[in-house]
């Protein structure tokens, strides 16, 4: 494998796309974007437009705080306005405050606003940066991030909603709750309920050597794609692992405990920041392959089981073999197909690893940014398959390489998708793989089906005489 840095501008969707998708996925979250018209316009435009009333209900949980660039923001103004509007979102269990570079340039004191907002609303207020504050030394590439960066940072912030392992161990907790109750938070009623639930959970001690596992993934945990988290959790439980739940949880007060003595397993290759947040909480973060593809899932289950204190080595390999065999006919449909990833979400690396394992020929894997440390196990396996990885690819150069190589399928970023289709290439938008339930053994089948369907449809359309 060669990793080449092209020092270009990759065709990745702006990560502000994640603002809408996070708020849509988490019905208990009220999102507030603090910035100028630019951020509001981007977040609104890229998160897709309300297509149905149901969808709008989720998309409606997003407010845009638009700062006047000519005016110095007054301290507390942001919090006051959000509080005024929050009566319309009575069931919100947490507020995600998206912080833009421009808001910081204009001098908004986010620490102060967050504290004020938290006190007045009585629900946790978590801040999420819309921009990359500082580059992780382990990651390389150009100036551009992945389109999933905001999702990663939002998940890192949501880790704060996880109760610490034992409530008793958390000093001052009682006091905060009381203070919240007195100030009459949005969630007065639900808080007490959640406390009982939390109590219930910590009252049931895990086995002496077995440590509970929390699965980190936004895309796999909720909505239609939630099936892949459930499937994976079932597979882990069969391997003797105690799955405490997914992060994010189904409600603000139903997050699994996280802290020393627990294990966190990120399911997506772009969750480096979220994994870091879990590690800072004292949880052990499993470093292994992503549970994408058959081999990835098998390694993931084994390594997570090991970290959680149970051992299933032989059983899991047998399971993986039988899944692999059951995918035979699907594998034969993509065998020898030439696939090109322009690079956008970060899912490209494990997808390429699985596809080349399944017999496809991966021509190029674009990586707008590469977290070499976080993805070390992935890169090791991908390297043995002889796939070229291009860091920070220049999309105009990619266009030339694609025209030259004429791949069978291009997994394309959003700006290249339409021009490539117009040039006669068969494309699959990179965003199709987000939320498609691609994790675990069943997810492996879905990945292959996704490609097989594209190929089959193209054949069908090509066969029509126009």
């Amino acid at each position: 494998m060669t990793i080449l840095n092209e020092s270009g501008i990759p065709d990745a969707l702006s990560p502000l796309y994640g603002v809408g998708s996070v708020c849509e996925r988490l019905p208990y979250v009220l999102g507030v974007v603090a910035g100028t018209r630019s951020e509001a316009h981007l977040a609104q435009t890229l998160s897709g437009f309300p297509a149905s009333p149901e969808r709008a209900a989720g998309a409606g949980r997003l407010l845009f705080m638009i700062l006047d660039p000519e005016e110095e923001p007054e301290g507390g103004d942001l919090a006051t306005r959000v509080v005024g509007e929050a009566v319309k979102f009575r069931d919100a269990g947490a507020v995600l405050l998206f912080r833009s570079r421009s808001a910081e340039l204009l001098g908004v004191d986010f620490d102060f606003e967050t504290r004020l907002l938290e006190r007045r609303l009585g629900v946790p207020v978590l801040t999420v940066d819309l921009f990359e504050r500082e580059r992780d030394p382990g990651s390389t590439g150009g100036p551009m991030g992945l389109s999933t960066d905001v999702e990663d940072r939002a998940l890192a912030a949501l880790v704060d909603l996880c109760p610490h392992r034992n409530l008793e161990e958390r000093p001052g907790k009682e006091g905060t709750e009381k203070a919240r109750g007195r100030l009459g938070g949005l969630l007065g009623r639900r808080r007490s309920l959640s406390l009982r639930r939390r109590g219930g959970r910590s009252a049931e001690p895990p086995g002496p050597d077995r440590r509970p596992v929390a699965l980190l993934s936004l895309q796999a945990s909720l909505g239609r794609a939630g099936r892949s988290l459930r499937e994976l959790a079932a597979d882990l439980e069969r391997a003797g692992v105690q799955v405490a739940g997914g992060i994010p949880g189904p409600a603000a007060e139903e997050f699994p405990a996280l802290g020393p003595g627990t294990v966190a397993a990120p399911l997506d290759p772009y969750l480096a920041t979220a994994a870091g947040a879990a590690r800072r909480r004292g949880a052990e973060v499993v470093e292994t392959l992503m549970p994408i593809g058959v081999d990835g899932t098998a390694r993931f289950i084994q390594d997570v089981a090991e970290a959680a204190g149970s051992d299933v080595r032989a059983g899991e390999m047998a399971r993986a073999r039988s899944v692999w065999e059951s995918l035979g006919s699907l594998r034969s449909r993509i065998r020898g197909k030439r696939i090109f990833f322009t690079g956008d979400t970060g899912l490209e690396v494990p997808l390429a690893r699985f596809l080349s394992d399944a017999g496809a020929l991966v021509l190029e894997v674009g990586c707008p940014r590469l977290d070499r440390r976080f993805l070390a196990p992935e890169l090791q396996v991908l390297g043995s398959g002889g796939v070229d990885v291009i860091e920070s690819p220049e999309w105009r150069e990619q266009l030339g390489r694609i025209d030259e190589a004429r791949p069978d399928v291009v997994v394309a970023g959003p700006g290249l998708h339409v021009p490539l289709v117009a040039r006669g290439h068969l494309c699959r938008p990179s965003l199709d793989f987000l939320g498609a339930g691609i994790h675990g053994y069943k997810g492996a089948r879905r990945i292959l089906e996704l490609f097989a369907r594209s190929l089959q449809r193209a054949e069908g359309l090509d066969a029509v005489e126009l």
């Binding site: 630019s38 609104q44 890229l46 845009f64 340039l105 990359e132 105009r396 959003p414 700006g415 290249l416």
Partner: protein
């Protein structure tokens, strides 16, 4: 500081990019923070245009190059990025530099730049905008940018021998932008008036150069083009026609004005208008055919940009005979003009860029039809009345564009109106207002807490629930139940 549920307009840089992407052989460089690069994705997915060339926009990211600076080719150095854009796009005649809000806020100055020429070809012209400021909005910036580009190119020239005009139409992302220009061009052709240039869609540098050759400027979309045509008027004395060309009346007025400016025989113009009214324009025919009961007393709410809101409002009020209730625009910089025009056909003209205020304005008027931007869809759905997404911004653009201007456009409007108004029985359309079921104070208080977007729907559901329970009034409890 404003807390909004959505925005109608983007930042100034978005307006500049819309204009530059509308023109041909123009490459734009967007100086912005990395996460502000979005235009190629938007252009592809929204316009669905079958174009093998990616969007003519490159990003020059502002980021801390740290150890990479100097030693690396990594993008981020503005003059290097401009040079790369020129090198990669030898066909470009113009390079436009736009700065994002973040760039402006972080104090990015216009650099002293020149573009090196090639061996034979002259270098492309670099156009920068000194007036950019972080508070400037999309539409105003688009208008200023077009004026700036026209100023950069337009050169004195003799008038064409035969009468010609320039058409200033809407920029890219306006639904039907190209179809509008095509329809106007068809009508002008029937009049025997040639088209000297179409701006901005598809215009090249040399089209801009030759703008002063036209006898008149037909300004279809004054939101983007007002500044440019005013400049051409003051600098080259080219007169302009500014009436919105919506509906049969508006179209006739524009054609008569063009006829006068091009010294055409008035008889000829009249003949064309009559034949088009007989053959193409379907709106007057629809208005004659529909029974007074199906039209009279029906109230329309209109919200959107300037030209279409005014043009459609006037047409629906006068030519169709609908009652135009609230009619508004989000273009606050055109407030005075808008209110002046809108007050001729409605008592309820307003200007705001807050979707929530628009929603409550529409909600309280309980209209039978909502004509608006994609942000008004929710209000209409919540009130249970038909919705026509005819105004910009639109969530997605159609594969086949249809005009709303000219005589053909009036036919499109007739179809849209008939479809929208046919299905709604009169009684039902008023039901959402004060229906028979009374509300308790407490329940009304709860309703206040619901966003204006969804109030109509919540009200309906609560009244249904009260009926199911056999209650004579909507109480706080019933309201809460209906929402759970």
């Amino acid at each position: 500081m404003k807390l909004l549920r959505g925005v109608y307009e983007g930042p100034g840089s978005h307006g500049i990019l819309r204009v530059s992407a509308s023109l041909a052989r123009v490459q734009a460089v967007l100086r912005a923070s990395p996460e502000e690069g979005y235009f190629p994705a938007l252009l592809g997915s929204r316009t669905k245009r079958m174009d093998p060339e990616p969007a003519p926009v490159s990003l020059s990211p502002i980021w801390d190059r740290g150890s990479l600076s100097g030693s690396s080719w990594a993008p981020g150095n503005l003059s290097q990025d401009l040079a790369n854009t020129v090198r990669r796009h030898p066909e470009a005649e113009t390079v436009v530099l736009a700065r994002s809000e973040t760039a402006l806020l972080s104090g990015e100055e216009l650099p002293e730049l020149s573009i090196p020429g090639g061996e034979e070809e002259p270098p492309p012209k670099l156009v920068t905008f000194g007036w950019e400021s972080p508070g400037l909005r999309e539409t105003e910036a688009a208008d200023l940018a077009l004026a700036e580009l026209v100023r950069a190119y337009a050169a004195p020239a003799e008038r064409t021998e035969e009468p010609t005009v320039n058409i200033f139409g809407p920029p890219v992302f306006n639904p039907g932008a190209a179809a509008e220009v095509a329809e106007v061009e068809r009508l002008l052709g029937l009049l025997g008036v040639g088209v000297n240039a179409r701006v901005p869609l598809g215009a090249r540098a040399r089209d801009l150069e030759g703008l002063p050759r036209a006898w008149a400027n037909v300004l279809l979309y004054r939101e983007v083009g007002d500044g440019a045509t005013l400049y051409l008027k003051s600098e080259f004395g080219t007169p302009r026609v500014t009436t919105p060309m919506v509906g049969a009346a508006g179209t006739g007025a524009v054609l008569r004005a063009v006829g006068e400016l091009c010294s055409l025989d008035a008889q000829r113009v009249r003949r064309l208008v009559w034949s088009e009214l007989a053959d193409t324009a379907r709106l007057p025919w629809y208005a004659r055919l529909a029974s007074p009961e199906s039209i009279g007393g029906r109230r329309v709410a209109i919200f959107g940009d300037f030209t279409y809101a005014i043009g459609l409002g006037y047409t629906m009020a006068r030519e169709v005979g609908l009652e135009v209730g609230p009619c508004g625009t989000y273009m606050e910089h055109l407030e005075r003009d808008f209110l002046f025009h809108a007050n001729t056909f409605t008592d309820d003209a307003f200007v705001t860029d807050d979707p929530e205020k628009v929603a409550s304005r529409i909600e309280s008027a309980s209209p039978d039809l909502v004509v608006g931007t994609h942000l008004e869809r929710e209000v209409a759905a919540s009130l249970g009345v038909p919705f026509l997404p005819l105004l910009s911004p639109a969530a997605s653009l159609p594969f086949v564009e249809r005009p709303l201007m000219g005589y053909a456009g009036s036919g499109v409007l007739a179809d849209a109106l008939e479809d929208a108004l046919r299905g709604v029985p009169r009684e039902k359309s008023r039901e959402t207002g004060d229906s028979g079921v009374p509300w308790t104070e407490g329940a009304l208080e709860e309703l206040e807490g619901v966003s204006a977007f969804l109030r109509g729907r919540s009200r309906r559901l609560a009244e249904q629930r009260a009926e199911e329970l056999g209650s004579t009034e909507v109480t706080r409890r019933i309201f809460r139940e209906s929402r759970s």
